[in-house]
Amino acid sequence: MTTELHNVRGAGEAGAELAERAKALLAGGAVKAVLSWRRDLTASRLQPALFEDVTELGDLFIETEPGLNLAVYLRRAAVRGLFPVSIVTRPGDLRSIVVLVQEGQLKAEDVRPLLFDSDSSTILPGDTLAELLPWLRAHYPARDFEDGQMEAVTALEKLTPAERWAYWKDELSRCIRCYACREACPLCYCERCIVDLTQPPWLEPSAHPRGSLTWNLIRAYHLAGRCTLCGACQSACPVDIPLMVLNRMLAHHVLKEFDFAPGLDPAGPALLATWRREDPNELFR
């Protein structure tokens, strides 16, 4: 059964190991199910799948490209019913799980994550947050801003406000307010999203550019100090709005100005709910 796994996309040998690790957890009864991807020959891309039966694990694949973050399913009743579950993650995904724990949306013991690191294309040892956090902390946030990743941000920052405004006006004018970005984000878990609040109507619901501007602005703001740059929102966007440029810009400044990086400490503070006396004061006259 594992032989089939050798053609796992991008994962190479890691795929076999992953299946074994998942199998061990499932067979050993440590988890009731495994959240991963399944190759569906009829579909163009891998499909998210919940494996409850060891024998099905043969179809288990790793999506190595950034995209769907499986952590988004952890708030589904169907999945919660099967806690503890194992979940296959990339670093950004795993960090979003840490944030979920930190924000009381998930108990650490309910998930046994398996972490795939595409840089080394290996499955890291350990299947609990406690075991995996040291590795995350050793590589992040540094990796978030490695060469190249900040290019789009710095390029925009070099422009004049007017030019930036024109750029975003154009980009955001494509938004059709489908909220796919929200649905794809494991951290957009509000029972009632602010955009659905009608009294007062803080955000204009209609898809005119101003409404879309405020929506995208607030979406990014509500993820400040929380977004772990998994990329799910952008890959879910049907009109290719470069949401990650916003997210990464904020992540970068949050790190620079508050020395804060999310998703590395399940017991850590929430950026916007806390403060330090030495926070920068330049903005205020």
Partner: protein, 661 residues
């Protein structure tokens, strides 16, 4: 449907002179929900208020906007007027068209235009307002005072004087605190014990005061008017009921005879020692000795038991156990006091290694008639009477490098007192004082210092000492006189360090249990540095004495009486009313992300479990008693599931929208 009445005040010419009130009235009539508009020369006057009451009655108004002065000025006035005719006071909104309009703009057109906007904003807002009712919180009419020093005793006695119950919790075995260790007190030089003892006796005898010694606050829950406090009582091993305080146990204890345990009360002076079963000092209240298992031969080696053999009443009980007691109180006074910084952190003065370099508190004990030397100033090392004593001030004060940047306030006076008393006791002796600045504000204080310099002949040198080290059987003191700019190396027989003062040990932990905050030196933070110096951030928890910052005796006593007055005011009624401006949670949409819990400066929000269709989930819950109505929680809530009564999203949004025509 809502009927808003708009009342326009001309305030004589103050408003009417700059704002075209007629135009304002016409504009107001057009505004959404406005059913009635009228103006008056002085709305705040009695006829003016009557006008408002009348209009509310006759026009059946459901809300009112008063365009007049600042709400800081007359909001209460107009709300009272409305309430008197049955309109909920929180449905009266003011438009500040005087301080923030007519007085700051000269152009009538511009001022009028702005006034119109301000009235529209107020009207829009009040349409979204809901009636609010003052919160009443029940009050447990009993107070807890933590700390049995002079401040704690004063607070307890003053509260008791108002016929209110007090529980006084003292960590040590008896009352008195730091003041009990002092020899004389500045500037009058009256004996500390002599003025303290009557107070301790008064506390012990006051039937409104319940005294718990060897007791520490273990946990605190609840909020203003309704605290539950768990107190842990350490075993005393002596039955207070049976003990007659004869002191036989203390006298016969072999540990005492061996002299191997230094006395904490004597500030650890080498000349001093105590028994394993002891009283801090002869006049201690309560007078029952306490047995210290750490040093007791029976507890350490299983032998001895001398004390129980010699005790005429069989009061010794080696099986005494720790116990806890939970108290219900309505208010808490923190009076945990201070302690001197340890000289250990000052290597340049020997870091406590040189026997003849002692602290000010140790010098107090050398001066004290009840001290180990019977009040004679003798060197710890060889018992000789020092002929030259060098006093070094600001050791552990005004020293940012040691993270002790604060002025300890009392040391200048204490040092002047030490120099004076030393000169009294050793007439031929030289007293040299190295000071940074002499700070002597206070009645008779400056005069006292001057006397020390001019009459007692203490030599005051402005400068810090860089090093002290033994040289033969003397001490070399490397000082400097910064006024002459000369180094001042001196030889001394005794060096006395005026150690800086920080909060007493455990203050930080206690603050955490209380939900209060402390600064870097462990001193409790007051609710407002100028206007609320007696209150902590936590409603119902007050501060007395040196726990809030270094204080001398009169200041500590004054603050204690002030705190007691506040406590008595709180406990005077069985319940108290407060502004209903507090946060409230919409449980349906709260996701329990904890942001508001982290953001609340008052720890007023906690997680509670609520039942849902799918079972149960955790949501935020506001404790009314603790909430101060800042709204920081509402500011961080992404789903806007927590809102602030009186400043709701709806009201603010309406007000913002109202700003545009």
């Amino acid at each position: 449907m809502s009927r808003v009445g708009v009342f326009l005040c001309l305030c004589g010419k103050n408003i009417g002179g700059t704002v075209d009130v007629t135009a304002l009235g016409e504009a107001a009539r057009q505004m959404l929900g406005v059913a009635h508009v009228e103006d008056a020369t002085y709305l705040c006057s009695h006829p003016g208020q009557e006008q408002i009451r009348e209009a509310i009655r006759t026009h059946r108004l459901t809300a009112a906007v008063v365009a007049a002065c600042s709400p800081t000025m007359h909001e209460a006035t107009f709300r009272r007027a409305a309430a008197s005719v049955g309109l909920n006071p929180y449905l009266v909104e003011m438009a500040n068209v005087r301080e923030q309009c007519s007085w700051v703009h000269r152009d009538v057109h511009a001022a009028t235009a702005k006034a119109i906007d301000l009235v529209r904003m107020a009207a829009a807002r009040v349409l979204r307002s809901e009636p609010l009712y003052p919160l009443t919180v029940p009050v447990t009419r009993r107070a807890l005072v933590i700390g049995g020093g002079i401040a704690g005793m004063q607070a307890a006695l003053d509260i008791a004087a108002n016929d209110q119950e007090v529980v006084l919790v003292e960590r040590g075995p008896s009352l008195g605190g730091r003041m009990a260790q002092l020899s004389e007190t500045f500037p009058t030089l009256d004996c500390s014990q002599c003025i303290l003892t009557p107070k301790t006796v008064e506390v012990a005898q006051n039937e409104k005061v319940r005294l718990l010694t060897c007791a520490e606050v273990e946990s605190v829950s609840g909020y203003i008017g309704n605290f539950q406090v768990t107190v842990r009582l350490r075993p005393r091993y002596v039955d207070a009921e049976r003990c007659t305080g004869c002191g036989q146990c203390e006298a016969d204890c072999p540990v005492g005879k061996s002299g191997m345990v230094r006395s904490e009360f004597e500030a650890g002076l080498p000349q001093s020692h105590r028994s394993a079963i002891y009283r801090l000092f002869p006049q201690a209240v309560p007078n029952t000795p306490v047995l210290d298992p750490e040093t007791c031969l029976y507890f350490q080696k299983g032998t001895c038991q001398v004390c129980s053999r010699v005790c005429p009443t069989g009061a010794i009980n080696y099986d005494d156990q720790p116990r806890t007691e939970t108290l219900a109180v309505g208010a808490i006074v923190v009076a945990t006091g201070l302690e001197p910084v340890s000289p250990g952190i000052y290597g340049e003065f020997g870091g406590g290694r040189y026997p003849d370099v002692i602290t000010g508190l140790q010098f107090e004990r050398l001066l004290s008639a009840s001290g180990p030397t019977g009040g004679e100033v003798r060197r710890p090392s060889d018992g000789r009477v020092p002929q030259r004593v060098v006093f070094v001030q600001c050791v552990g004060s005004r020293d940012p490098a040691k993270r002790l940047p604060h002025c300890s306030k009392v040391c200048c006076m204490a040092t002047a007192k030490h120099a004076t008393l030393y000169r009294h006791k050793v007439p031929g002796g030289e007293a040299v004082v190295f000071y940074t600045d002499i700070r002597s504000p206070g009645k008779g204080y400056e005069e006292f210092v001057r006397r020390a310099i001019e009459e007692e002949g203490a030599l005051y040198l402005r400068g810090r000492v860089s090093k002290v080290y033994p040289e033969g059987d003397h001490l070399k003191v490397l000082g400097a006189d910064t006024l002459s700019g000369e180094p001042m190396p001196l030889t001394a027989d005794l060096v006395v360090l005026a150690m800086g003062l920080v909060a007493s040990p455990g203050a930080r932990e206690l603050a955490q249990r209380l939900g209060a905050s402390v600064d870097e030196q462990g001193f409790f933070t007051e609710a407002h540095p100028k206007l609320r110096p007696l209150e902590s951030f936590v409603p119902g928890i007050f501060l007395a004495g040196a726990c809030q910052g270094p204080k001398d005796i009169p200041d500590a006593v004054a603050q204690a009486s002030g705190a007691a007055a506040k406590v008595s005011a709180l406990l005077a009624r069985s319940e108290f009313a407060r502004e209903p401006v507090i946060a409230r949670v919409e449980e349906r949409t709260c996701t329990g992300c904890r942001a508001c819990i982290e953001a609340c400066p008052y720890e007023a929000i906690e997680e509670v479990e609520v039942a849902t269709a799918k079972g149960s989930r955790l949501v935020a819950h506001v404790t009314e008693g603790k909430c101060q109505g800042c709204g920081v929680c509402a500011g961080v809530c992404r789903s806007h599931s927590i809102d602030l009564a009186g400043f709701t999203d709806q009201e603010v949004a309406a007000q913002i929208a109202g700003a545009s025509p």
